[in-house]
Structures are given as C-alpha cells and as structure tokens.
C-alpha cells in the first residue's frame, strides 16, 4: 500500500513552477471544459486509451455488475475449489462461490466506496485548504502543522483501528478513507490558492467591491481546483487499494459480500498449494482498475501542467 499521487504531484508542481512564470495570465485562467479535457485524453497515447477503456469498463461494472453475473454471488454452487472450467470460467473458491460472478459484482462495492471517498476528500480538503490559505497567520499555520502531524501517523493502522472500532460499516470505511486523503488536497489547494490570490483577476474582483469569502469561493476556488481534479483520479486508485487492503486483513468489508480484497484473502492459503485462481482473478481485475485510473490521472495531470 503506497501513496504515490500526493507527494508526487506537489513536488512536480514545484519543479514546473519555474516554467509557468513566463506564461500569460489569461491563458492560465482560461477554464478548460470537461469536454476539452476528455478530447485531449482521447488524443493521448495508446497507454492513455487503454487506461480510459479500463476506467469505463469498471465504472460500468460498478453500475451494472451485480445484474449480469451468471451465478448468484453469495450462494454456493455444487463445485468447491475447482479450477477454471467451461461452466465456471474463473473457477470456484473454498465456499463454492463462482469467482467470475463475484469479480463482476465487486466493483459495486470497491469502486463506489472509492468514488464517494475521493469526492468527499476533494470537497473537505479544498474547503479546509482554502480557509487555511485565505486566513493567513496563526490559524492557517496551525492547520498546516496539524496536517503534517497527521501524515506522520501510520495511517493504514489508524484506518484499521477506526473501521474495526466503528463496526466495519460502508459509511465508516468511506469516511476514514476520505479523511486519510484530506491532507493531500489541503496541501495542493493551499499551494495553488497562495499563488492565485496575488493575481490580477483577484485584485480586479477586490476592486469591484467583492468581499473576502465571495472572492475565495467564486474566483479563487474554481481556478485552484484543477490540480485537485488531477489528483482525484490518482487518489481514487489509492482508495480502492485501501478498501481492498482493509478487507484483505479482515478489517473491512466482510465476506460473503463480493469484494476484491476479501476474495484475494480467501485464496491466500490456497496459493502455497497451487490453487492460484481464487486470488489471481479478483486481484487482476483490481490491478487493471487501479492502473486505468492511474493512467487517466496521469493524463489529466499532464494537461494541467501543460496549461499552467
């Protein structure tokens, strides 16, 4: 379980900040529409296209997955621990569940938790980051130091403690994962706001009589969100890994609910005696999903860096 997006993007921005200084302000401020972003992702490399395809597949599975499974995902079939065959193309696990059906149904849990958690952390991180940067001085400093200290905690262990303590419900998992990601957005948005607040268009808004909060919400925040969106795709993959990781060690979603992490755990002991299929297929699906989102995140980030 590693977190690549957070530190990466912040340092990358630092590296690229020198290059951005010479650019025209209006070019920087021009808001690219969703459609523009989408088209430029489509124009990207083959890798980006594959990534986008994966993302679309898994989002569709999150919506329709549970309806298209060939077998009931939580009912045992007559075959137990059987390798892939014609009737069970991914085989069956020790409980007799059809693995293919469960792999298809799992995105409903994993992808949904990750999407909701990511959106929640984006919103919370942006608002706190905005506050921390607009109200300078002691309060802002305090928020940043607190966020520093939180990052020194073994966050995954804290996640285990809180999720287990609150009874492993989906809501708790979502909130915990969202809180884990807040410091990244906080840092990202704050850095962006600090550079934006000195710009001419903020000054112009102030000159026309706009007040602090209104400037912050209407002028600065929309412009500061772009790195946040680029980060969201990366956070998303990370959130799936945490969700599955928690379930893998028994501290998250509990079986028999179809979920990639607990499915991989179900095959853990079989691996040493050669029963590979129980763990391989759910992990493969998860690996593809996470990879897809990482690639798309990278593409969005490239657009963002090119633009600034």
């Amino acid at each position: 379980m590693t977190e690549m997006g957070g530190p990466n993007i912040a340092i990358e921005r630092e590296l690229d900040s020198q290059a951005s200084l010479g650019l025209q302000e209006n070019e920087l401020v021009r808001a690219a529409t969703m459609r523009e972003h989408f088209i430029s992702i489509l124009k990207g490399s083959l890798l980006t296209k594959i990534g986008l395809l994966f993302v679309i597949i898994f989002v569709l599975l999150a919506i329709f997955g549970p309806y298209i499974t060939p077998f009931d995902t939580t009912a045992a079939t007559s075959s137990v621990n059987e390798g892939p065959s014609g009737s069970h193309i991914f085989g069956t696990d020790a409980s007799g569940f059809d693995i293919f059906s469960r792999v298809l149904a799992a995105p409903r849990i994993d992808v949904t938790i990750a999407v909701v958690a990511t959106l929640l952390s984006l919103v919370m991180g942006s608002l706190i980051g905005l506050l921390a940067s607009f109200f300078r001085g002691f309060a802002g400093e305090l928020v940043m130091r607190a966020s520093d200290t939180v990052q020194a905690f073994p966050l995954f262990v804290l996640a285990i403690v809180v999720v287990v303590g609150f009874g492993r419900s989906y809501a708790v998992i979502v909130i915990v994962i969202a809180l884990l990601n807040v410091p990244i957005y906080l840092r990202l948005i704050r850095a962006e706001v600090l550079s934006l607040r000195e710009r001419t268009f903020v000054e112009a808004a102030r000159a026309t009589g706009d007040r602090g909060v209104s400037i912050a919400l209407r002028h600065v925040l929309p412009n500061a969100m772009t790195p946040g969106f680029a980060q969201a795709s990366i956070t998303f993959g990370y959130s799936i890994i945490i969700t599955a990781g928690l379930s893998f060690i028994g501290a998250g979603v509990q079986p028999p609910t179809p979920e990639w992490g607990s499915m991989i755990a179900a095959g853990k002991d079989g691996i040493i005696i050669g029963q590979w299929w129980t763990s391989v297929f759910p992990g493969l699906a998860m690996s593809m999903c996470v990879f897809g989102f990482a690639v798309v995140g990278e593409a969005v980030q490239d657009i963002f860096l090119r633009r600034t």
């Binding site: 379980m1 530190p7 073994p154 890994i241 990482a294």
Partner: protein, 376 residues
Amino acid sequence: MNAATPPTTATLPAAPVERSPGAKRALKILGFLFVTDLGRFILKRLAFIIPQLLVVVIGTFFLLRWLPVDPTSRVVGFVATDEARAQARATLGIDVSQGTQLWRYLKGLILHFDFGTSWNTQDHVWNEIVQRFPVTIQLTVLAFILSLLIAIPVGRAAAAKPGKLPDKITLGYSLFAGAQPDFWWGLMFVYVFFFLLKWFPAPLGQLSPEISSPDVHTNFTLIDALVAGDWNAFGDNIWHYGLPVITLAFVLTGPIIKMTRQSVLSVVNSDYILYAKAAGYEAKTIRWYMLRNSLSPVITLSGILFGFMLGGAVLIETVFSLDGLGVYALARTLATDFPAIQGAVVVMTTFSLLIYLMMDIVYAVLDPRVRYGGTR
C-alpha cells in the same frame, strides 16, 4: 550599570581556560548547532518533534477512547453483572476519569518510558513491541535500500535520452507499479517463485523450521545472526526476506524512478547548469551540482513513502506470516487491547518523524535554500 564601578574582570589578564577534550567537543557541537545555519535548522526541527510527539500520544489516546467499544466485554463477556463489569474496569485502569488515565499514562511514559501493560497478555507493551518492530524495520529498510539502488540509476538512465523507447518503457513501468496492490503481487510472487519455481522459501516467517534462531541481542534476526557468526541463519534469513522485500520494492521503485527521471530532467535543462557550463566550470563540478540538486526531491519523496510503507507493512507481513509490528497492531485492534494499540501507533509515528527529520537534514545539507527559513 554603574559607570563609577571600575570594571574588575576586564582589567585582569585573560587567563587561559583549560578545557577537557570532552568539553571542547561539546562546545564544538553547541557552536555548530547555535551558530551555523544548518545547526539552527536542525535545532528548529528538533523543537518541533516534541510537541508533535505529544500530539501523537494524546491524539491516539483520545481516538481510542472515542471508539464505541467496551473494553470490559473482552474480559467479562457481553452479559455480565454490573459488579463484574466495574471490577473489570478497575483491573484495566479505566475506572477513573479519562483525564486521570491520560495523566497516569503520560507520567509512566515520560518518567519511566513505560508504555503500560497489555490488556490481553499482561506483558509490558514495550517488551512486546521490541520483539516485533525490528521485523518491520528490517523489512521496510531492506525494501527501501533495494528500491533506491534500482530506481535512482534507472531513473537517471531514462532521463539521459528522454522520449526514446527505454524511457517510455521505464515511464510505463513506474506508472503501473506505482499504483498496485502490493499484497496481491506478494501472493503472485509466492505462487510463481515459491510454488512453481521453488526459488524462494514458503511464505512462513523469518527462518526455516530446521534452522535454530541465533541468540537474541537486537531482535533484528539479520544482525543477531551476524553477531553470532551464524552464516547459515544469516543466509536463511535473507532468503526468507527475499520475496517480501522484492514485492515492496516492485511497488516502491515506480514513484522513485519517476521522480528521479523528472528531477534529473529539470536540473539538466535548468538555467544554472547552462550558466555553469557557459562559465566554464569543470565537468566534474557540474556533475556534482546536477546530482546534488536532482536528489533533493527524491529524498523528500522517499521520506514520505517510508512513512506510508511503515503503516502499510501489515499487508505484506500478513502475506508472508512475518510477526511484525503491523500484524501486532492488527491483532490487538481486533482484541480491543488499547495500551498495545497505543504503543504500536506511538512507536511507528515516532520512527516516521525521526525518518522525516533525517530526510530534512539531508535535504538541508544538499540544498542551502532550505536552511534560510525556506519551508518544505
């Protein structure tokens, strides 16, 4: 000051002060800390650590008590008389107010370095941690050494010819590996390298059953084997750490390669390198500048990654049945053993903070701007 009083000390001839070598060394260190920029920077960072640690201890303490769990039910069960429950609360030391509990805990921790007694095993938490943390440290540190040894040369090689095929392959790999579930890859490596190829041992602990473990000095099996001169155990231990370390390195090299490549590129194309070349600096000097400046972001990233790795180690420890601090924290969480969880979290966080401190110092040595009031 009374101007009429004759200055007494100034009129005396300055007597040569005899100082012991120890005092000289201490003065030298103090002089370094208080006079040089780097020294002041280190002092400032050290001053931050103490309040941070306090926040960590108090934060964890209240986080645990805020959870809607009843620790006594582990002792007396869910159906118990009120007396039995009160008895259990007294035994666990939670019959007093939370403020008193915290005060007792802090007093024990600060005065006697006492992390309390486990509610589960009645052992001293510190003794339990000392046995397990070395496993986690050995795992993560070996993984980091391997990752840096691979990632930095590969990242620099990729940056040498940007846009060419090797660069593209490297970028693709780092993008892929950087966002992968390490616990699943661990299982895949077990299947291929243990079950199919038999290159590595079964994922069952630190040593083969037939190898007797060396006498315990440090709890780092590798170091203990070295101290005992037991090369058999040393080799066996390395062999057992092989797959978990490779698994972690597989994931870790991704972001480090990417960062190295990017940072080398930005340094190579920077104005100051152009200036240094134009000014006719020696190639050796320029290479040193390039290396120094390109490593700084890599060091920062490594520090942050290390903290994450430490927290996430429980997954790899679970896959390879290593009895580390992560697995300990998980087991004690499931058992509602507050002192043990608290101890594990505090020790891990302290270690992370010390790693950050170390990285910051290395960073400050490499990059003079950091020393002059710059923030990270």
